[in-house]
């Protein structure tokens, strides 16, 4: 359970969000926003749904080629940063510590608490079951999004991968649905984070110190 990247001290304390996590978080945020805004530009050139065009002011890039340039620039940011994040999360035990275990019973209880406005926010070092589900879910969605992106980028070289998405237009649709899920994830929890702003503060400053050992949750916050 010890964090190998943490300097061992007698205090055995470290920040809730170590500097590495904060750096990767904000690089990811920038890459995601670039990918989404430029993706909308690319989408507009050949829409999947006749009723849906993204207004120019919310797309990135002047013309389609600029949208493509930004998209294929930001893909490297996302890929390299994402890979570092996964390696970090697995090797330091952060994923296991923060995201596991997830029990369906806990999710139901937290959803019930949230709907009755009784969900605990006092201790931001502990992710509730809904948060855990969303964080694991978004990572899986991003992974699928990378796969559908690779498949429609290289529909001949990666044709086996593309066939999982039912061909080129299927791949485009999967990439669009993945985008929608990511935007949904951005909108809802970002709104919630704005309601509990200390969570964003913690992603900038690192947040409160936490014990090096897995934290014990107080029986009831006072």
């Amino acid at each position: 359970m010890t964090d190998t990247l943490t300097v061992k001290s007698t205090r055995r304390h470290r920040k809730l969000h170590p500097a590495a996590v904060r750096t990767m978080h904000w690089i990811n945020a920038v890459a995601m926003i670039m990918l989404i805004g430029s993706g909308w530009k690319i989408y507009n050139d050949e829409v999947l749904f006749g009723w849906l065009h993204f207004p120019d002011w919310m797309t990135f890039g002047h013309w389609a080629q600029h949208g493509l340039q930004i998209h294929f620039f930001a893909m490297w940011l996302l890929a390299i940063n994402g890979l570092c994040y996964l390696i970090y999360g697995f090797f330091t035990g952060r994923f296991r510590r923060k995201l596991l275990p997830i029990s369906p019973r806990e999710i139901i209880a937290d959803v019930r608490d949230a709907l009755s406005f009784k969900l605990a926010h006092d201790d931001i070092t502990h992710y509730n079951a809904v948060q855990k589900t969303l964080y694991v879910g978004i990572m899986l969605i991003i992974a699928v999004q990378v796969l559908s992106g690779l498949a429609i980028w290289k529909p001949v070289q990666f044709q086996e991968l593309l066939s999982l998405f039912y061909g080129f237009q299927g791949g485009r649709l999967a990439h669009f649905i993945g985008m929608t899920a990511i935007v949904g994830f951005l909108v809802i929890p970002v709104a919630l984070a704005l309601l509990v702003p200390k969570t964003i503060g913690a992603m900038v400053t690192g947040g409160p110190d936490v014990p090096d050992a897995p934290d014990a949750h107080p029986v009831a916050a006072q």
């Binding site: 050139d45 002011w57 002047h62 080629q65 503060g201 400053t205 014990p211």
Partner: protein, 263 residues
Amino acid sequence: MAIKSPSRSIVRPQNGSDQSPLDEGRKLVAEINRRNLLRGTVSLGALTMLTGCSVSDTDTVQSVLRAVSSLNDSVQALLFNPNKLAPTYSVDQVVKPPRFNAYYEIEDVKPVDGKAWKLELAGLIDNKTPWTAEQIYKLPEQEIIVRHICVEGWDYIGQWSGVSLAEFLKRIGADTRAKYIAFKCADGYTETLDMATALHPQTILATKYAREPITDPFGFPLRLRTSTKLGFKNAKWITAMEVTNSFVPTYWSKQGFNWFAGL
């Protein structure tokens, strides 16, 4: 204020740990002012909107984006497997007529006079004698039924036939160790292919669509058709071909589209 009790977990110690650092942290996060946060968010939002209209085509940003696009050219060349064939389809899936694509509308196509037309050859080629349409139409034909994928995102299945480009390069004594094949077109369009793609078994100089001579809007009398590139790489109304080692920027790459554009 009683909050829900924590879930039982095997990774959570039973006795709890020192909570004082948490209290110190609380003071710090309490100082983060909602108003400032909102202001910051709005500024960030405004910046991203700026990107939408002008940032991407300023010189500095363009040079960075274009450098990454060249890097992507090299990555795509590495990903390109010269023996990997694109999926092929059956005759009944073929769309007739093909879908038009060019840098102008179909009404503005200027038909090429097949009788006066010649294919000029230049560069690292042994026999640079120009070819007439009649001569080219007599060459052995290869047929491919492949998917055309446009950079915009649309696609259709087309049935193309004509001489294999690899075969044609052999006939004219081209140096296939050269890096590029550059095409010039009757409408001023320019395009270059990397040699590996030019030699791919599904790259042809097409003269027919659905077993009939290609019509004017689709590149009569001679066009390129390769299964491993985006639609715009398939030069139409070809008038000249050069085998060369020096990179020649193309119509779309000059405007910022990715040059390799491989599928």
